[in-house]
């Protein structure tokens, strides 16, 4: 990518990804290109495919839950083309690393709303929490604890008592207790890994 093109792209992305300045955007674009496997086909879409992206999440941000990583990929991949473009990359990272509470709530809700119907249902919760407890072999129903945990969560967050979480429920619960932002699994980087990433991206990439 030539200099002029980079400048132009950075300028436009700066406007949508508000939390980065132009230099930072340039760094992220450069980083994107080091991560992207150059497609053999010149006309193929340039971007991070699911596996590459999941690899980044796992290695750089320490995520482990396959399902959540999948959902994070879907949240980045706005146009649903199974590929994170440079625009999606920069805009996604803006929220992922530096988003406001509001932005992060929307992002997390999107991650947790597995079928994208605007609600987090009992089943979705069960699905996301099913590995969160140590199995007690002594118990007759190994899922009993998970089911109970789902009920506890609903009791805590389902303000309108309709048995599922709307965005309104979720927002209210998180504003009341920020710890519930990542209620159904870690989908945001912790402070250490995000600082490490920013340092790497903005300093080392900048020197390239």
């Amino acid at each position: 990518m030539n200099r002029k093109k980079l400048q132009k792209l950075a300028e436009s992305l700066c406007r949508t990804a508000k939390h980065f300045n132009k230099i930072e955007v340039e760094c992220l674009i450069k980083l994107f290109h080091t991560l992207v496997v150059e497609p053999s086909d010149r006309h193929a879409i340039v971007g991070l495919d699911r596996n590459t992206f999941r690899n980044i999440l796992h290695v750089t941000f320490g995520m482990t839950d396959d399902m959540i990583m999948d959902r994070v990929f879907r949240a980045f991949d706005k146009d649903n083309d199974s590929c994170v473009s440079v625009t999606e990359w920069v805009e996604g990272l803006s929220i992922f690393l530096r988003g406001t509470l509001e932005e992060k709530m929307k992002y997390c809700f999107e991650v947790y709303d597995l079928n994208g119907d605007g609600y987090i249902s009992r089943e979705e919760m069960f699905h996301m929490l099913k590995n969160s407890l140590l199995k007690q072999p002594s118990e007759e129903d190994p899922d009993e604890g998970i089911k109970d945990l789902v009920e506890i969560t609903l009791k805590k967050m389902d303000y309108d008592h309709d048995g599922k979480l709307s965005y309104t429920d979720f927002e209210k619960a998180v504003r009341d207790e920020n710890l519930l932002l990542e209620a159904f699994g870690p989908c945001l980087p912790d402070i250490k890994s995000s600082m490490a990433f920013e340092m790497q991206a903005f300093q080392e990439t900048g020197d390239m």
């Binding site: 929490l129 969160s132 407890l133 604890g145 945990l149 710890l179 519930l180 990542e182 209620a183 912790d190």
Partner: protein, 821 residues
């Protein structure tokens, strides 16, 4: 005082500033004179000349003086100065009188020649002896009695007419004492009272004492050389004999004075508190009520106003026995006695002594109230069983004064004792059961709350009937609340409570019981299970859910502990998961309001981990850790742990935030200020230990506190001033408060809205105003006006106490007094 001025005046400097001078006046051969020496301590001078004069009137003068051939006296006079004072019947006076009588009695047999010497003037007094006593050796004619013994001019040496008796020789005095028999003490007293200057009467005005050195002996010798008058020689002998007696009396009274048990404010307080414990409504109490006249206690433990403390007075009580009118009692270092009570104006106490002096309050009350004696007998069992608790309790009181400034609180410790006795053995820290079955202990607890009320009451009654009526019969719940207070209290104590850690062991309230557990118990147990066995996500959900329980409620606090939750919560603090740490601290912060929880947190090493968390880059985490430390560090061991693990330095580090005055702060900077506030809260708790005060200073805390003192927010100022006020017990802080210009801000905050803050400011000023420059600074910054305003407007007793103290100290400077006027 008539006559000359005392020679050989021996004055004993007061052993303590609150005691009065005891001028002991001894004469040589010359005329002894009782001299009213006003107590001239600085305090009495400061209180104005009128007060000093009044003081002199009340001062007991002890003096021994010699007179005539056989009469010597040493006496405590109720009033000194005027012609006829009255001798008080105190043990000291009585024994001195007896010594004098013994001397006079044996005088004629031991020194027959001197006994015949005729006084220059007769000793004259009103006698109470009736005529029938005078038989052999006396001539009785009508209303006149004369001695058969006469002088060379044929005048009788003893003449009694119309109950006035005149005696002119030691021989006759000896005989008279013999005649008086059992009334000799009264007669000797009357004689001494009527003849305040006996030596002049006996030997003549020439023997009156002269200011300066005692020349009487020299003059006598001169005269002996000049003429051969045998009288002079006798006079000389008498003079020498009297001097001898004088020394003897002086020695014995000194011995007695030094043996006298002097009361202290602490002893008085103990006695009052003990009696209070047995007082109240009902037939079996020893007294109906027992109150101090003043709620304010000075730092030396006295409640008497300073100008009365000069006279050794400690405080005043109004005691209402069952069977007599209210007694107005003065407690002084010399003992306990009745005063004149309160005048029409409510605040005026008539300080004049109206009764004998008793060695303590109980002795006085035994004398005054038969009902008291009777009910005391009933209480005997408890009364003498009490000492161990009393000790414990006294301990609390002292600390109370230290920790809460001047406030006075009374907690019924017997209530606590009852609990201790009826409870099953204390719970040891319980190992966490894998299956987390409900602990039996907890069981007991629930039972205690729900079912066992009756049983509990019954359990108390047989143990001691007396206690039952002391205990206010109330619902168990109420008792548990007040017990909570007791244990909270004992937390605060620990600092000054010597080095013992006895108070650390809290009684557990458990009882044999059934399995009726509240539903919260099961739910909390389940949540703890998820926290233990879940990953971060499950843990956070469970932690958040746990916060929905009423964590201020003891049931929940103890449920968390009893299912092993505390250990789990503390373990979470040691992980890398920030969310789990925050969730855990949010719970620990709440439940550490409970003193038992505080101790368990400390036992599990929670403080060390929280101190480490203070280094975290996450500000929320820092705040929560500091706030939790603030709660936990309310007992000595915890404060020590914080210090020993470097907590003080880190907490002081939290105080370092941007200048507070700056407008439109970013959320980032606001957070820093919140961190500083939490740090100050924790330091406030920690600053109750002397070593921590020093540690805060060494960590550079003083300039940071000074900077935070400029904050406009009461929630920041309260912990900051609280810490300063606590530390102002140290001279280094008092100096710093002066030099770092903190007085100005302390004065400014006297005029705020927040009473707690005002109280701490006043208390800090009170502690610092020992120093003259500081007093001037208070005036200079206009601090006197707000203090005066608070005094007249506030109804908050603790605030009033602090303000009164501040004003009292400030009033040491004359300019401040003038300004008030």
């Amino acid at each position: 005082a008539a006559g000359g001025v005392g020679q050989g005046l021996v004055r004993f400097p007061a052993p303590r500033p609150d005691s009065v001078y005891l001028p002991l006046l001894v004469t040589g051969g010359g005329g002894p004179v009782p001299i009213a020496t006003p107590p001239t301590t600085a305090a009495s001078r400061a209180s104005g000349s009128r007060e000093a004069g009044a003081g002199a009137r009340h001062t007991s003068l002890i003096f021994a003086e010699t007179m005539g051939v056989a009469l010597t006296r040493a006496a405590q006079w109720t009033s000194a100065g005027s012609g006829t004072g009255t001798l008080e019947i105190t043990p000291l006076n009585e024994s001195l009188l007896n010594d004098i009588i013994k001397f006079a009695d044996s005088f004629s047999s031991r020194h027959p020649q001197e006994a015949a010497f005729v006084f220059r003037e007769p000793l004259e007094w009103k006698t109470q002896l009736d005529y029938s006593r005078f038989e052999l050796g006396y001539e009785i004619s009508g209303t006149t009695i004369q001695s058969e013994e006469r002088d060379k001019d044929d005048q009788p040496l003893l003449l009694l007419s119309a109950s006035t008796i005149r005696v002119r020789s030691f021989g006759q005095l000896s005989r008279l004492l013999h005649v008086a028999m059992e009334k000799r003490l009264k007669e000797a007293q009357a004689c001494l009272e009527a003849n305040r200057d006996p030596i002049v009467k006996i030997l003549g005005p020439g023997y009156g004492t002269i200011e300066g050195e005692d020349m009487s002996m020299v003059r006598l010798l001169d005269r002996m050389k000049k003429d051969d008058d045998p009288d002079t020689e006798i006079k000389m002998k008498i003079s020498l004999l009297l001097q001898q007696l004088d020394m003897q009396l002086l020695n014995s009274s000194l011995k007695r004075i030094s043996q006298e048990v002097r009361l202290t404010p602490a002893a008085v307080k103990n006695e009052v508190d003990l009696l209070k414990h047995f007082s109240g409504e009902g037939e079996n109490t020893v007294l109906e009520s027992l109150e101090y006249t003043s709620d304010y206690e000075f730092s030396n433990g006295c409640r008497a106003p300073p100008w009365r403390q000069v006279h050794g007075e400690i405080g005043y009580l109004i005691v209402k026995p069952h069977d007599t009118d209210p007694l107005y009692i003065t407690c002084s270092t010399a003992g306990v006695f009745l005063n004149g009570g309160r005048g029409k104006e409510k605040d005026d106490i008539d300080y004049e002594r109206k009764s004998d002096i008793y060695k303590d309050l109980i002795t006085l009350l035994r004398e005054r109230s038969p009902k008291f004696v009777e009910n005391m007998a009933k209480q005997d069992y408890t009364f003498f069983e009490e000492p161990t608790y009393e000790k414990h309790y006294r301990h609390m009181e002292i600390v109370d004064a230290e920790d809460l400034g001047q406030s006075q609180k009374f907690y019924d410790y017997s209530e606590k004792n009852v609990f201790e006795k009826t409870k099953s053995p204390p719970l040891k820290s319980k190992p966490i059961d894998k299956k987390l079955e409900p602990s039996l202990k907890w069981n007991d607890k629930a039972a205690n709350k729900v079912m066992k009320e009756e049983k509990e009451n019954r359990a108390i009654v047989p143990e001691s009937k007396k206690k039952a009526n002391i205990l206010s019969p109330g619902p168990i719940k109420g008792q548990s609340v007040s017990k909570r207070k007791v244990s909270d209290k004992s937390d605060e104590i620990s600092e000054s409570s010597s080095e013992s850690e006895e108070d650390e062991e809290q009684p557990e309230r458990h009882q044999e019981g059934n399995t009726d557990l509240p539903s919260e118990y099961w739910q909390i147990q389940k949540l703890v299970k998820y926290i233990k066995g879940g990953n971060q996500t499950a843990t956070v959900i469970a932690l958040c859910s746990m916060r929905d329980f009423n964590l201020a409620q003891e049931t929940c606090q103890l449920a968390i502990r009893d299912v092993g939750g505390l250990e789990v919560l503390i373990n979470l603090l040691d992980t890398e998961e920030i969310k789990c740490k925050i969730g855990s601290l949010k719970i620990l912060k709440e439940i550490s309001q409970n003193s038992q929880i505080r101790r368990t947190i400390a036992d599990f090493g929670g403080l060390q981990i929280m101190v480490k968390i203070l280094d975290s880059p996450d500000k929320d985490l820092k705040c929560l850790a500091a706030e939790t430390i603030a709660n936990v560090a309310r007992f000595k061991r915890a404060r020590r742990t914080v210090r020993q693990h470097g907590g003080i330095k880190r907490l002081v580090g939290l105080l370092d935030c941007v200048p507070l005055g700056s407008a439109n702060l970013t959320p980032h900077l606001e957070k820093d200020i919140e961190v500083a506030r939490c740090g100050a809260l924790a330091l406030w708790s920690c600053s109750k230990s002397t070593k921590n005060k020093e540690a805060i200073r060494r960590a550079g805390g003083i300039p940071l506190l000074a900077r935070l003192l400029k904050s406009p927010h009461a929630n920041m100022l309260t912990p900051v001033v609280g810490t300063l006020q606590e530390c102002a017990s140290e001279p280094s802080y008092r100096l710093a408060i002066k030099t770092e210009r903190m007085i100005e801000n302390l004065v400014k905050n006297l005029s705020g809205e927040n009473e707690e803050l005002q109280m701490h400011c006043a208390s800090a000023i009170f502690k610092c105003a020992e120093d003259e420059e500081t007093r001037d600074l208070v005036r200079h910054h206009g601090g006197l006006q707000p203090l005066a305003t608070l005094l007249s407007n506030s109804e908050n007793k603790e605030l009033l106490a602090a303000v009164t103290g501040a004003i009292w100290k400030c009033a040491i400077s004359r300019e401040n007094v003038t300004k008030y006027g």
